[in-house]
C-alpha cells in the first residue's frame, strides 16, 4: 500500500503516512525487534503498578490526595463496571481482571495523546488479539465452571424461541457468540486506535507539507488543517478513554452472560 516518503520541498506529491509506516526498532536480537510499542507496554505496566501501589499502600481511613485518586479509579471499575454489570456476590472474583484490563488499555491508549510519545500501543494488532483471547478464555471458562456442560446449550439456544426457528437461530448464535465476539472485541480497540493515530499523523504530515509549499494560500490552508487536527485530537482523546471503558464493559457483560446463562 502507501508508503510514506518525506514530502518534497515544493510542488511534489504528498504521500501520507499509511498503515505500513512503522518506526524503526530500537534494537534487534535475531528475529526479535524491540519496538516503541513494546517499550510503551512495559512502561505502562511499571506506571500502573507504581501509581496504584503508592496510592493503596497507606490505606488510610481518610484518604490523602494520591490515595483518593487511586480510589476513584479503583472504585470506578469495581462499582460502576463490575458490581453494576456482574452484580451479586461473585463480582469480586473478576475485579482484578477488569481493573488490570481497564488501566492497561487506558494507559496504553492515552499514550496517543501525549506529545513525543503519541503512539497508542494497541495501534498494532498483536496486543489486542492477546487481550481479547484472554477474555474469551475467561468468560467461556467461567460459563463452563458455573453451568457445567449445559453452558453449551444455554449459550447458543435462546429461550422462548419456537423449535422450528431453532435451526436458523442456533448457527447465528454460535457465530455471533463464539466467533464474532472475540474478533470484534480485539479489532474494535485496534481499529479505533490505528485510525485515530493515523488521522493525527496524516494531519501532522499534511500541515508540514502545506507549510513547505511556496504559495501563501497553501501556507494559510495549513492553519485550517491545524484547527481540524486539534479537533480530531480532542475527539481521539475522548475515544481512547471510551474504548478502554467499552472493552472492559463488554468483558464484564460477556462474563455476566456466561455465569448467569440460565437466566438469559
Amino acid at each position: 500500500m502507501i508508503a510514506l516518503t518525506l514530502p518534497a520541498q515544493d510542488g511534489g506529491t504528498f504521500n501520507p503516512p499509511g498503515v505500513n509506516s512503522h518506526l524503526p526498532a530500537f534494537f534487534t536480537i535475531g528475529d526479535f525487534e524491540f519496538t516503541k510499542q513494546m517499550l510503551l507496554v512495559l512502561l505502562s505496566v511499571v506506571l500502573i503498578s507504581w501509581f496504584f501501589i503508592a496510592a493503596a499502600r497507606k490505606g488510610k481511613l481518610v484518604p490523602g490526595k494520591l490515595q483518593f485518586a487511586g480510589e476513584i479509579g479503583y472504585n470506578f471499575v469495581r462499582n460502576s463496571v463490575a458490581k453494576d454489570v456482574i452484580g451479586g456476590k461473585d463480582f469480586m472474583k473478576y475485579v482484578p481482571l477488569l481493573f488490570s484490563l481497564f488501566f492497561f488499555i487506558l494507559v496504553n491508549n492515552i499514550y496517543g495523546t501525549i506529545p513525543y510519545i503519541q503512539l497508542p500501543s494497541f495501534s498494532h494488532v498483536g496486543g489486542t488479539y492477546f487481550l481479547a483471547a484472554l477474555v474469551y478464555v475467561i468468560w467461556i471458562g467461567a460459563g463452563f465452571k458455573v453451568n457445567g456442560i449445559r453452558f453449551l446449550k444455554l449459550a447458543v439456544v435462546p429461550s422462548g424461541v419456537p423449535w422450528y426457528i431453532l435451526p436458523l437461530v442456533v448457527p447465528i448464535e454460535v457465530i455471533s457468540n463464539f466467533l464474532v465476539r472475540p474478533m470484534t472485541h480485539s479489532l474494535r480497540l485496534f481499529a479505533t486506535m490505528l485510525a485515530g493515530h493515523l488521522i493525527v499523523l496524516i494531519a501532522g504530515s499534511g500541515i508540514e507539507f502545506l507549510i513547505m509549499q511556496e504559495s501563501v494560500l497553501m501556507k494559510g490552508a495549513s492553519v485550517l488543517v491545524l484547527v481540524g487536527s486539534i479537533a480530531m485530537y480532542m475527539l481521539e482523546a475522548l475515544i481512547m478513554v471510551l474504548q478502554a471503558y467499552v472493552f472492559v464493559l463488554l468483558t464484564a457483560i460477556y462474563i455476566e452472560g456466561a455465569i448467569h446463562a440460565d437466566s438469559h
Binding site: 500500500m1 464474532v180 472485541h185 479489532l187 481499529a191 467499552v246 463488554l250
Partner: protein, 72 residues
Amino acid sequence: MNGTINGSINLVGYGLSAIGGAIGVGLVFAAYINGVARQPEAQRVLQPIAFLGLALTEALAILGLVFAFVLK
C-alpha cells in the same frame, strides 16, 4: 493538475460499509438515551443491553474492516 490516487479500492468499500454500522450504532444509542431519559432508574438495566447492541452492530463494520484488509 493530473494527480493520481494510489491505494486499494477496498478501503472505499469499507467506508461505504461503515455507514451501515454507524447508523445502527446511532439507533442503538438513540433508543438507549430515550429509555434512560424517560426512566432514569432503568439505566443500570439498559446499559449492558445498549453496549451489547453496540457490540453486535459494530461487528458488521469491523467485519467490513477485516475484509477490506484481507481481500485482495
